[in-house]
Structure formats: structure tokens, C-alpha cells
Symmetry: none
Subunit: 225 residues, 2 copies
């Protein structure tokens, strides 16, 4: 695994160096920035795996920075941990609401910092590593959430329809006959009439439109390339 990169944004240079030292010792790549604006610029360029963000800063403060990040397609998926000067509950809550993933209060315990960072990264890796999200044409089929997105719309398909769509989409372009679909989606020793597939295809088309699944007469169905 390549080194993971952490962007640290804080206006106190000494603290920045201290954190850098500790993170490097743990094997992380470290980027630094001294205010929110600079932080966002660096993030855009280097795409860090995580951002450690001070809440109180001149120019653009941490809260503002996160809001901006969450609005940017490229940056919105990067986890953020806040550094707050004191245990100010109100701030914490607000920060987490704005899209932070965790927070740590100063003064910082190195051990805690490291373990929190690892915990957040682990949580994020878990999320990413699964190939359960298919993006095809203008739709996203998310098997973790069981939701199909088309532009802004959300579709909640029932299980069989969803699984069928997912299976077809995961083999985009390939024609699959009804028996194969039954075996793969319904299960091997389940007995249902193969025309059942037709009905499900129809329901999917009713909901999403019929530009996704093609009929190949005499053979089966195919998800359009």
C-alpha cells in the first residue's frame, strides 16, 4: 500500500511542525497549509487521504473550509478531523454537522491523534473498498445503500428488481439469457417460470426508463453499453 497522505491545516507553525513530525514517524506523507484557503488549494492539487483542520484560523476558518470542501465534487469525499482549541461542545457539534468526521481537542495527545486518524481512515477504507457501486450511463447503482440514483432522483427498487438490474449492469454489454439470470439473481435451485424475468425487466423500465436494458429477441437481455 502506498503511503497515505494527510493534509494538516493550522495557523500555528510550531504545532504544524510537531504534528508533521509525529505523523511522518507513523509513516504518513504530510502536507501543510496555514489557512483554509491555502488548505483547499493544496487539497485540490494533491488529493490527500485525510485533512486535519484547525477550526480557528485567520483568513478562512476551518468551519468555512469544510463547507467549501463538502460542496466540491473532488473534495467532498475526503474525511476531515477537526482540531478545536477547547472542548467547546457547541463548536464540536456544529463542526460535525457541517461535515467533519471527528474532532480532537487541543492540547493534543499524540497517541490519541494517531489512533483517531487511523480509525477514521479505516472507516473510510471500508466504505471505499467494496465494488458495490456501479456507475453506468447516467445512473449510479449502489448496492450498499440499495439505491439507484439518476441525476438528482433517487429510486428505491424492491430486492429482485434491484439485484437483477445490478447483475445486468455489472455485465454491461453482455447478453444474458433468462436461465442465467434466474440462476444468478434468484438462486440455483429455485423454481420459477422464466417469464418472471420479463416482468421484472418491465418494472425496472417503468421506473428508470427503457434506455438501459435491451431486449435481444430469442436470447435474453442486455444492459446497454
Amino acid at each position: 500500500m502506498p503511503k497515505q497522505t494527510i493534509l494538516v491545516v493550522d495557523d500555528e507553525k510550531d504545532l504544524l511542525d510537531l504534528i508533521e513530525y509525529n505523523l511522518k514517524k507513523e509513516g504518513f506523507e504530510v502536507l501543510k497549509a496555514e489557512n483554509g484557503e491555502e488548505g483547499i488549494a493544496v487539497a485540490k492539487e494533491k488529493n490527500p487521504d485525510l485533512v486535519l483542520l484547525d477550526i480557528m484560523m485567520p483568513k478562512m476558518d476551518g468551519m468555512q473550509a469544510v463547507e467549501d470542501m463538502r460542496r466540491d465534487d473532488q473534495l467532498k469525499k475526503i474525511p476531515v478531523i477537526f482540531l478545536t482549541a477547547r472542548s467547546d461542545e457547541k463548536t464540536e457539534v456544529e463542526g460535525l454537522n457541517k461535515g467533519g468526521d471527528d474532532y480532537i481537542t487541543k492540547p493534543i495527545s499524540t497517541t490519541k491523534l494517531i489512533s483517531r486518524i487511523k480509525a477514521v481512515l479505516r472507516r473510510f477504507d471500508e466504505k471505499e473498498e467494496e465494488t458495490n457501486v456501479l456507475e453506468v450511463h447516467d445512473i449510479t447503482i449502489d448496492r450498499d445503500r440499495y439505491i439507484v440514483n439518476k441525476k438528482e432522483e433517487e429510486f428505491h427498487l424492491p430486492r429482485k428488481e434491484f439485484e437483477l438490474l445490478f447483475f445486468l449492469a455489472s455485465r454491461k454489454g453482455k447478453v444474458l439469457d433468462r436461465q442465467t439470470l434466474l440462476n444468478k439473481v434468484w438462486g440455483d435451485n429455485i423454481y420459477v417460470v422464466d417469464r418472471t424475468v420479463d416482468v421484472h425487466v418491465r418494472k425496472i423500465r417503468e421506473k428508470l426508463g427503457d434506455h438501459y436494458i435491451e431486449t435481444v429477441k430469442g436470447v435474453g437481455y442486455r444492459f446497454k453499453e
Copy 2:
């Protein structure tokens, strides 16, 4: 990392020595006690990372000892693995309900013992790292205090309901099936009917309202994004 300490409580001296030998070989620090009372005393003084506890013992038996431990602020967070003489299902279940984290039946396989210990320790380390305060929608789920806040209101959910809510919320958006929920919230070795999850979900909804947990028919439940 400093050596991890394991307290072994058993009235059979030979077994005690055998376990000690094996654990030391694995690099653990080992403490010994011959009954529940002594065990608790030692635990209080030395703060072990894990306790290996025989269920059947003179003076104070293991079951009693765990209950006492779980009531003691200093000791309640220490993981406990039971040693049971035979595979007596009823005892196991009871033990796990009282607050044990795993159990091993005698006669003991050293390999199994070691791997269980490591597994439990790993699980615990992870837990410690995790954030204990979740901010989702308009509620705050505070695992340190076992309290859910919604605006100004405070809700005290019973343990299972709380843990279930917490787990779902910590995986916000992801659909989790009943089996996964049972494994993660109830524990790997506990056998309960999976519909139990439904009832707990309902109770949570009754208290907090049903805008938080969504049902995904045929699949499981999801905390709303």
C-alpha cells in the same frame, strides 16, 4: 507497545500454570488468581488488559465475578473471556448476557485460546479508538453517556436499543441485514431470532420518531442519510 497483561482466574492450579506458560510464550504478562474474590482484588490493583475467567469456582464463581466487575467503574471496561467446563449452552448464553465478551470450553486448545484472546483484544482496541459521539440529522448519540439528544430533549434508551441505534448511525446510509446487526450488536456467539431486531427497531422508532431508521424490505435496515 508495552506488554499486555492478562489475568487468569481459575481454581485448578495445574491449568493455571499451563495457561500462564502458554501466554508468556506469546509475550503476555500474566497475573493469576484462584477465585473470583481474589481475581477482583488483583484486577483492581493491576488493571489487566483482559481477564480469563473460570465459571465454576469455589468462593465466588465467575458469573458473580463478572457481574461485580461490570458494576465497578474501574473494571467494567475490561474484556472478559469465560472458561467453561463443558459446552453448556445455557451457561454460555447467560455468561455472555452478564457481560462476558467470549467463552472457551475446556479442555482448552492452546491455539484457540491464544487466537480468541487476540481477537477480543483487537476488538477492544478498535472500540477505544472509535468516536463515541455521533451527530446525525438532528440527534446526538453519545456513547460515553448512553444518552441520545434531540434538540433539547434527552432520551435514555436501554442498552440494546442504544447499541443498535449507534451501530446503524455509525454506518449511516448503508443497508445492514439482520444477521450483521445481530453479530455486531448482540455478539457473534449469541443466538436470538433475527426478528428480535425488528422489535428493537420499532422501540427506537417509538421513542425517537421514525425518520431515522428506514426499512429496506427483503434486505434489512438503514439509517437515513
